[in-house]
Subunit: 203 residues, 4 copies
DNA sequence: CGATAAGCGAGACGGTACGTCACGTCTTGGC
DNA sequence: GCCAAGACGTGACGTACCGTCTCGCTTATCG
């Protein structure tokens, strides 16, 4: 992961400010267009208009770059406090479905699976994904529990797995079948999904 | 995909019968051990004890080999007729969870996601996955409908997506957290999942 | 080298009579067109209209085939008894120049040089070339000595080397310069060459 | 042929200075030890201690590398001004005989013949050989003509062909017969050859 | 005549080298 | 000391050819 800003302000030329964002964006675009094979560091550097050394100065290798590129965009997921559990979950599920249907969101999924396959280096990324994504659901559940909408004994992971799993499989099957994006359909699926989850946790 | 059997019985030396299976098995093992990067055709050929030409004679490139290796093993999933919808779904969910936790099953997922990302060549594979996996659920649902256990108006795709999505996300989260396999836990999850689905389709 | 005819007349199907000549001819043509690199056994077999096994049944490997193809054609060189040393040498030199300018003759030279570079297996070929070519000159010289035209003390090798070396370098330089074949020029060169040799051996 | 030195001084890392010489030397050694077959680019790169990309960056393919390797060493032939035509020719003939008996010189011959067979790409190499080798003889002849030792009407090519052809055939026949190198014999042959040429051009 | 044997065209086989390409590192001059 | 450019050593890619092998077939001799 890139060395965060700040630091003791070294002596030489400072790192070009916009470089990191340009590179991360280029990485995501390349990954989206060409997939893992066909995703080359040279192409990323060329597309970002920087030299390879600038890339390798910030990320140790290909995996690290791609992982962070994907994490950054996956992290943008936010939730709103609508006042009801159903409203919160509806917003989350809708965002998630839309996210997974976007190139960046889809890339997130793929990288997550790749990372989950490599036992050695999953530390940072899995933690990031688990925490960032899981945290949102925990917040929602906590609010619901505070309001008395939800049994305090229920583990929020159940909700997380249900929503994320459904969104993932939905996105996958649509892609396999070549279906087109359809906002109304996504909303409908979100509603169906949330009601199912509510049914389950109040069962 | 390898040229199917049969044909007009060409004139030259026939292709070595066992070669394809050996190569596919070697491919799966290599993929399981080393992941996509680190999966090399030379290693597959060496492990299978064949020359590279023998591999490339059957599969056009790395992707094609891996795709078929994974499809073959993903296709082995079968179901049993236990006499009840719940029993059928329990067997399916249990098999699926165990499958996705195995190296070959996990590889299936990864390759499926990769294939779903490449719009050009998903034809054969996505059809295979959709049909083979979807067909099992359709059979189960048809039997349930015949027995009057299930409302004929329900689209089996709902069941498929729920079970596969849950199995997938479950396998993913276990891997991300480094959890170990646990038969009892898998059975418990399967039961929980099936009951959720039943709750949904009888809602 | 191919097993000559005759033999005890085995039991199985006899070797197809014309095959050897077809293969040798095809080999020479391939060599002439594509050189050593680009000279492939598959192409030879295809051009000759036979299977590879038919080729390998007769020659142990590529070298052996090419060597014999070239030897066969190099061996066709014959001389005539014109009654005078100068006439005999003129005929020989003319034939030789023409031979080296033909594709087959040029191939002979190239293969000879290749063979001369491989110390292990030059046995058969070098003997063939030395004897076949050297023998002609020896015969001419013997007749000349018998007629009293030539000092018996002169080693015929001198004549051989002079004529063959000149013909070889002549052919080489013409090729390097892209000059076209020219019968009259060849005859002129032959005459000049022979007179030079005569000058030398009567010196 | 490798891009000559100089140039506009590009921006990236300069090509490693010694690499070309190391590679050319390694190529000659490999060729000398293993001949054309058995001459592999991997082995050349390994022996030179460089990567294959470094080789292919400079030479387009195997032929180009070998051709230049041989040209470089063939070009080293120089002559001395001994003050007499016979002395100059003796020195040249001696050098040439020794050159053709050395592995590098012999390789020059072989490659020259190969190049002379490929009509497409003989441009650079044949010109190099013709000019470099022919130029030496022209210089010798010019000096002889200036001194009045040689009829100005004689074309120096006659001398070139005679000396080079004799040296070539001599080296070839020695190799075919497996004769060992013998300095005294080479000098004797050189003297005999030069006297023959002198006899001819003063005839 | 049928059995036996070898040649034959076709082409798959295990290897190995080809020439290309990407990785991650290193080395310039310029900023 | 960061940067763009690009050469470097390494190693996998997918192709092509080597020399061997295994088919089904043909063409001979021998019993």
């Amino acid at each position: 992961m890139a060395t965060g800003a700040g630091g003791p302000r070294g002596r030489g030329r400072p790192r070009t400010p916009g470089a990191e964002d340009k590179i991360l964006a280029a990485a995501l675009e390349e990954y989206g267009e060409h997939g893992w094979s066909g995703f080359t560091m040279d192409a990323v550097a060329r597309r970002a208009g920087v030299g390879k050394s600038t890339v390798y100065l910030r990320w140790h290798d290909k995996d690290a770059l791609l992982t962070e590129a994907v994490t950054r965009h996956g992290i943008e997921l936010t939730t709103v406090d609508t006042g009801t559990l159903r409203g919160d979950l509806l917003a989350l599920a809708g965002n998630l479905l839309r996210h997974f249907h976007s190139p960046a969101g889809w890339a997130t999924i793929r990288v997550t699976f790749d990372v989950a396959s490599a036992h050695e280096r999953l530390g940072g990324f899995s933690r990031a994904v688990s925490q960032v994504h899981g945290r949102q659901v925990e917040l929602i559940c906590q609010r619901a529990k505070d309001r008395g909408e939800m049994d305090p004994g229920i583990w929020p992971g159940v909700v997380t797995e249900a929503i994320y799993g459904a969104a993932m499989i939905n996105s996958l099957s649509e892609r396999l079948e070549g279906r087109e994006d359809d906002e109304a359909y996504l909303d409908e699926r979100a509603a169906w999904l949330v009601d199912l989850v509510l049914l389950d946790i109040t069962r």
